[in-house]
Symmetry: C2
Subunit: 154 residues, 2 copies
DNA sequence: TCTATAAAAGATAAAAAGGTCTTATATTCT
DNA sequence: AGAATATAAGACCTTTTTATCTTTTATAGA
């Protein structure tokens, strides 16, 4: 029922790329890492995997960096999670039971299940671009930085 | 937003004790570990901590073991979680944002929040005994064992 | 009082997750 | 061609979580 830190970083990064990058405007790990406040060597590793998984794209050399191709933009958040954590993790029982379903529900199954469906739906049915658009329309925050440091003068 | 495996084991064990133990009927780690299918040395360590935290009780020696005293029975699931994981863990943002609230919500904040309140309410407002009673009334499963192995002949 | 039993305590180990560093490779620009 | 830049790849390190093992202590009962 939880995302690894790696998945969280990946989701935030992908949304950041959706908003700020394009085929003609690639962004380096370093810039992204600083923008969302994540350790950059770790993010670099993650990005390699995302590129192999065709979630994001990259080119090397000067003016190189990471970006979303047209195809990448049509991926969904669930594709990111699948690529990093696999799908099993999100489907684990909240109390750790090896088999927990409508037939053999754990004590909180019927609270957890509707929530799970809701959030999986959200992650599955929107493309990364749509998701990013919704976020910027609603003015949501997308960094791990301390928000106070962003809004205050310093 | 997740429980450690330790917390999960602890919750299942406490509920098991609520149902099967009493001041006059104590149960050994080994029996409990086998019943809920959890590694027994690990559970033993966990139990030490739960005893120190006054969540469960124990006596040494022959006919000794673990049980819930009258006071223990009035603890709630949230007390177990607090004792093992602390409360911070359950309150973490689903996407890992350091500050995520109604003012500065992450993209899934308004999906996660109602669920969190619901499950926290459930864990806070019922005593362990009440919780255990509800579970046995509804015939819910409480072991990590493969359910098939329980119901099938073998 | 001796023995068996069961938890307490503490040391240690194994695995997973998170994070870093170094070298190689591709690309662009001069 | 050569220098600079940015990712790719792989080795490596650290911390946290999970799990185990050994020794000690308390208790009951013969």
């Amino acid at each position: 029922m939880t995302l690894s830190r790696a998945s969280k970083y990946a989701i935030l990064s992908a949304l950041f790329l959706a908003e700020h990058s394009s085929e003609t405007k690639k962004i380096s790990v370093k810039v992204i890492a600083e923008s969302i406040d994540v350790p950059s060597p770790f993010l670099a590793k993650l990005f390699q995997q995302l590129v192999r998984g065709k979630i994001i794209s990259s080119t090397k050399g000067p003016n190189g960096g990471f970006y979303l191709s047209k195809k990448n933009q049509k991926k969904s958040v669930i594709d990111i999670i699948e690529n990093i954590d696999g799908l099993g993790r999100l489907n684990e029982c909240f109390l750790g039971l090896s088999k927990c379903d409508g037939e053999n529900p754990c004590p909180v199954h019927f609270i957890v299940e509707p929530f799970k469906q809701q959030i999986l739906g959200k992650f599955r049915d929107k493309t990364i671009i749509e998701f990013a658009e919704e976020i910027s329309a609603k003015g949501r925050v997308l960094t791990l930085k301390d928000v106070d440091n962003l809004t205050s003068g310093k």
